[in-house]
Amino acid sequence: MAEATAGEHPVIDPSSFDLVVSGTGLVESLVAAAASASGKSVLHLDSNPYYGVHYSSLSPQSLSSFLQQNAPAAADDDDGPRQPAPKSSVGVAVDLQPRRLYSHVEIAGEVPEPSRGFLLDLSGPRVLYCADPMVDVMLRSGASHHIEFKSVDGSMIYWDGKLQMVPDSREAIFKDKSLSLTEKTQMTRFLKLVREHITSEGGEGEEASKISGPYLEMPFVKFLEKQRLPPKIKLIVLYAIAMADYDQDNPESCNKLMDTKEGLESLSLYSSSIGRFPNAVGALIYPIYGQGELPQAFCRLAAVKGALYVLRMPASSLLFDKEDKAYKGVRLATGQDINCHRILMDSSSVVPPPFPSPDPLESTIEASHASKVARLVCITRSSLHPQLSNILIILPPRSLFPAQETSIRALQLGSGLAVCPPDFFVVYCSTKCDDAIRGKEHLLAAMNALFELPGGKNEQDEHSGDLYINESTSKSKPVLLWSASYVQELTEGCSLSSSPMPDGNLDYGSLLKSTEKLFHSLYPHEEFFTAGRPSEEEGDDITEG
């Protein structure tokens, strides 16, 4: 982004705020909106000319250039000791170093015209559950007025070289043609058990139907086996409903096993999502115009409450107050110093630990197993499903190749969501990984399984042409027109003054949790969006029919 100069930008007045937030990613926007809602004066900066940073939805060209800018250059490994900058009126100025969060960026193919019609998520695939706490926050805060959602039409699971619909509800199980009759009984019996557990947890149902302590601690996969669920159902429940990331049948990854409590929570979220909004067909919804709408909606909310927004305005250094032993100001790229009580920086820049006595870096999210997420954005001209255009696709561990350790999730979106021109489709894939190369291998395998690569580059072609189960007309795989693949770093937790990167999950649940913690550590006595506003009626029209 072009360096802003003092000449282009007027001086910001006032020059003192309760909170300065740099970066308009979702976490920062949420904090800014919550702080403004609690009456704090907020200055919200972003070095980019658009909102969202790592959470934005961009045109293919902007996406490519964003990735390349944030990828390490050849000689960018210089992490030399940082020197305190010259003294300022407030305190010691500490320079901010840019952080390179993307690597292994590969762009292939030509962006089809009209290329401006595409809005690609940087942090895809990502959706919201209808019963998501994020949805509640949007309803509670009023952000839902600035954003509209549509249903994801359904989920599919890839198994035995075929894509089949995930029977995730009573009706879907009834209609499903791939499950045997007995499997149908087992599946509903299990879902009923879960439902009874949920209602008994809510204090309504019978205590007897509650799944008790020792069960909750056992690995979820063991619990499913105890329920005598056949392998296929187990697979569906684990990876397509509970969204487990790692191979649950592999004893080596036992630290990555989902426990029963966690599993039941995911199922509970899923099942309470179905039917929450009358217009939503399944459990999942997606914002029209892309995920980038979410941070923008909260920024708007903050602006309504009086926050000041300045785009194209990077902060160059932080001002350290020796007496308070904390950062108490920001020096902007224009050279202006802003005083503030609290600072929140997005993860694009390294926030040096304040010295001489650094704040204890409080890790607020549970230690993530993986350090990276491999992501893939694709553009095609035909859908992976003959009738549906907005679908979630799960490629569970070992479905693509025996050594596949992680579940790969893909989300296909059509023009109905205004993320691409008519007759095009955008597909996001992602998988968690520790090793960038392995992550990319996983994505490549998924790409091979789902798409026809231009020039017949598919590694194994035996499955091409019969990707679907239950379809009488054999339809060939969609041809891949354009793709961008990259590996994104996950920031280890977040510190008092630095917010986390988009995680490798499908939903916003854990990000929202860390955001709430972050907010409470900034403002221990404030409420994170005051509850109490009746919002159920608004909830009815959160989705478009």
């Binding site: 009706e171 199980i173 009834f174 007995t182 509903t188």
Partner: protein, 709 residues
């Protein structure tokens, strides 16, 4: 709609409803005035509309509107005016239905208007409204009814409506209305052999496949099971009736005597009408209730009675014109028979039309039974009325098991007949295969899940398959799983105590089926009476079905040959079915749960009955029989209370008639020599004395010699 808790009204609601009531009263009185004065102008109709808007349940208002529409239509023939009236009325009904989608008056009005102006109504709009309504509440039966009405009015193709039900079921398969409509449409389409619905078997197989998805997805949801039951009924549809059993059986040789030691033949103790005339019953038992059994449809060739003189009577507790079982009596006069050679008797039917099932299906094939009758010389004394009869004791020590017992000839009495023209194979292979497949599936289901209705269905399937297989000639083959079926009903009795009566009845029928299924199992229940009084009377075998917890009797068609039957120590509340056992002379019903005299109604046509033990029941504990399976019992509605019978009461004291009318009706037809009533609340001195007067042949009452006072 469904599952919404009722809330108590708040104070402000009460105020609002009081205001509403006041407004309603005003409108209502205005309406009634207009109605009375036959004012049908615009203002008056407006008041009516307002009233219906507030409260669509005022039937008078709807009625008034109909009169107004009629009067206004008569007075003008203008096309546009008619159109506007139709539209206006449809609009009013729509407003009312939006207010209360289950308002009978509004639905009725809408129907009436549509019928009246079917050429004017906008049917697309009608379907749009119905779609909205059924989307809001997919189980509103008014909506479904109206849809059927509109479909018929507009002649929509039934196939389209079938697809509509599929669509609704796919949205939510817990929809009784949709499944019901599906069954209605399908039965019509199958009856017409509509293209695509022709081999009925194919359609039914596909439907089974479809319903299985619902049943296995949520076995606890009942709506699908109803449809499944309907499908099963279609599969085992019994179109044409046929004979399943007769007495005497085809090919048997009867000896009409009182005392003989020859055991290879069927013995027959006749009932005497007059000194020298004895009656030979001929019993025909069909697989379903039939009507039209008479001397033109059934021909009996014998030297004893002219066929045209024979009167066939239905044997059924409800005494209607149709019954499973029919009887006629052949009068054998000693004067006619001088020969020691057997007389041949032929019973044939099915050659002429007229013998049909209750829904009009003719017999599936013509049939003939041929048997012979040998008459041993009448030995004076043994059948004389004046002779003294020993008392019968039913105690265990009076019976002995005999391994050498030969019951084969008796068993032969059922399932033997000469089929004259076999039109088609009785058991459809598809049907028995389908049932077997269903049985396999539901066994699997109940191994997965503990589901009452699945168990019940499996029980029904097992019974149905046995029934289907028993239609065929091979009786004992493939007829197993009794234990499994009994276990299922035992489980159900435990799991679902609120329907215990039904389960016990079903269980009893299965048990009866098992006991009578073959020679071996039947032999276990056949005993030899030690007591001379029984053997001397010519009865050699007693069938003892005591202590089986039976609540009902079934499969009587296999027991037509039985003379002595012990049903004591069961839980019988009804003895329906016994009426077919025309040879029964000794019957023990003691220690059961018969609760009234009317429960003994089935015994009335049993002309051979001599000894009856009804001791230790609950007769008299309830004034009327509440356990009947068909119609309620009262002096007015009771089938026995026909005029002819009522006349018989003249001989009795009115007070006695009032108290014991039911006992009088039953016992005055019986020629009992022995009766045991002890241990019933009804028993007292007046009752005993009545019995002695009522049954002149009675020699033993409750173990004491009956003295004519």
């Amino acid at each position: 709609m469904h599952g919404r808790p009722r809330k108590t009204a708040k104070a402000e609601d009460l105020v609002a409803s009081a205001a509403k009531a006041e407004k309603l009263r005003q409108l209502q009185s205005q309406l009634l005035r207009n109605h009375n004065d036959r004012i049908y102008n615009k203002e008056a109709l407006e008041i009516c509309s307002k009233l219906l808007e507030v409260n669509p349940e005022v039937y008078t208002a709807w009625n008034y509107r109909k009169l107004a529409v009629q009067s206004n239509l008569e007075s003008c023939g203008d096309h546009e005016v008619v159109q506007s009236i139709v539209n206006q009325e449809l609009k009013i009904a729509e407003i009312a239905l939006r207010r209360n989608p289950k308002c009978y008056g509004a639905w009725q009005h809408r129907k009436w208007i549509l019928n009246l102006g079917s050429d004017k109504a906008d049917f697309d709009q009608e379907f749009r409204l119905l779609d909205q309504l059924l989307k809001a509440d997919s189980r509103n039966f008014h909506g479904w009814n109206h849809r059927r009405f509109v479909v018929a009015l507009k002649n929509v193709k039934e196939e389209e409506e079938l697809n509509f039900t599929t669509e609704k079921i796919n949205t939510n398969f817990s929809n009784y209305s949709a499944w019901h409509n599906r069954s209605v449409i399908l039965s019509h389409l199958m009856k017409q052999n509509a293209p695509g619905f022709d081999p009925r078997e194919k359609v039914l197989t596909e439907e089974l496949e479809f319903i299985h998805q619902a049943l296995f997805t949520d076995p606890d949801d009942q709506s699908g099971w109803f449809y499944h039951l309907w499908l099963l009924d279609q599969i085992i549809a019994r179109d044409s009736p046929f004979l399943i059993s007769s007495w005497p059986a085809h090919g048997t040789e009867l000896i009409l005597s009182s005392n003989t030691s020859v055991k290879d033949f069927q013995h027959f103790e006749s009932t005497e009408y007059a000194q020298d005339i004895r009656a030979l019953p001929i019993v025909l038992y069909f697989n379903q209730a039939v009507k039209g059994v008479n001397s033109t449809t059934v021909t009996v060739e014998s030297i004893f009675t002219e066929n045209v003189d024979l009167i066939w009577k239905p044997l059924s507790a409800s005494n209607s014109v149709e019954a499973h079982c029919w009887v006629t009596y052949l009068n054998i006069s000693e004067r006619d028979c001088n020969s020691l050679e057997p007389y041949s008797i032929k019973v044939s039917f099915g050659n002429t039309q007229g013998l049909v099932s209750s829904d009009g299906c003719p017999l599936s094939y013509a049939c003939q039974c041929e048997f012979s009758l040998k008459i041993s010389p009448h030995s004076p004394g043994s059948c004389s009325k004046e002779s003294n009869v020993n008392m019968v004791h039913w105690d265990n020590e009076n019976f002995s098991r005999s391994e050498f017992l030969q019951i084969r000839p008796f068993l032969m009495s059922y399932q033997r007949q000469k089929i004259i023209a076999n039109s088609e194979l009785l058991i459809s292979e598809w049907c028995s295969e389908t049932l077997s497949r269903e049985i396999m599936l539901f066994r699997k289901l109940i191994s997965e899940i503990n589901c009452k209705i699945a168990k019940l269905t499996l029980g029904r399937l097992l019974i149905a398959r046995n029934f289907i297989l028993s239609r065929g000639i091979q009786l004992t083959k493939n007829r197993t799983h009794f234990e499994e079926t009994l276990q299922l009903y035992d489980d159900l009795i435990r799991l679902d105590p609120s329907h215990i009566g039904y389960y016990k009845d079903q269980r009893s029928l299965v048990l009866m089926d098992q006991v009578t299924s073959d020679e071996e199992s039947l032999r276990k229940h056949c005993w030899l009476p030690k007591e001379l009084s029984l053997t001397s009377a010519g009865q050699s075998v007693c069938l003892r079905l005591n202590k089986l917890s039976l609540t009902r009797i079934g499969f009587v068609e296999r027991l037509l040959w039985v003379n002595v039957l012990d049903l004591s120590h069961n839980e019988l509340q009804s003895v329906e079915g016994l009426e077919a056992m025309q040879l029964l002379s000794h019957l023990n019903l003691s220690h059961n749960k018969l609760s009234s005299m009317t429960a003994l109604e089935p015994l009335r046509p049993m002309i051979s009955l001599q000894a009856l033990d009804i001791s230790y029941n609950e007769i008299g504990a309830h004034s009327i029989d509440t356990k009947r399976y068909q119609c309620a019992s009262s002096p007015l509605s009771h089938p026995a209370g026909t005029c002819g019978d009522v006349q018989g009461f003249e001989d009795f004291d009115p007070e006695e008639v009032k108290l014991y009318w039911d006992a009088i009706l039953i016992f005055k037809h019986l020629h009992l020599t022995q009766l045991d009533v002890v241990g019933n609340p009804i028993l007292n001195e007046p009752f005993s004395s009545l019995m002695i007067r009522l049954v002149p042949s009675l020699q033993w009452l409750d173990g004491r010699p009956a003295q004519q006072s």
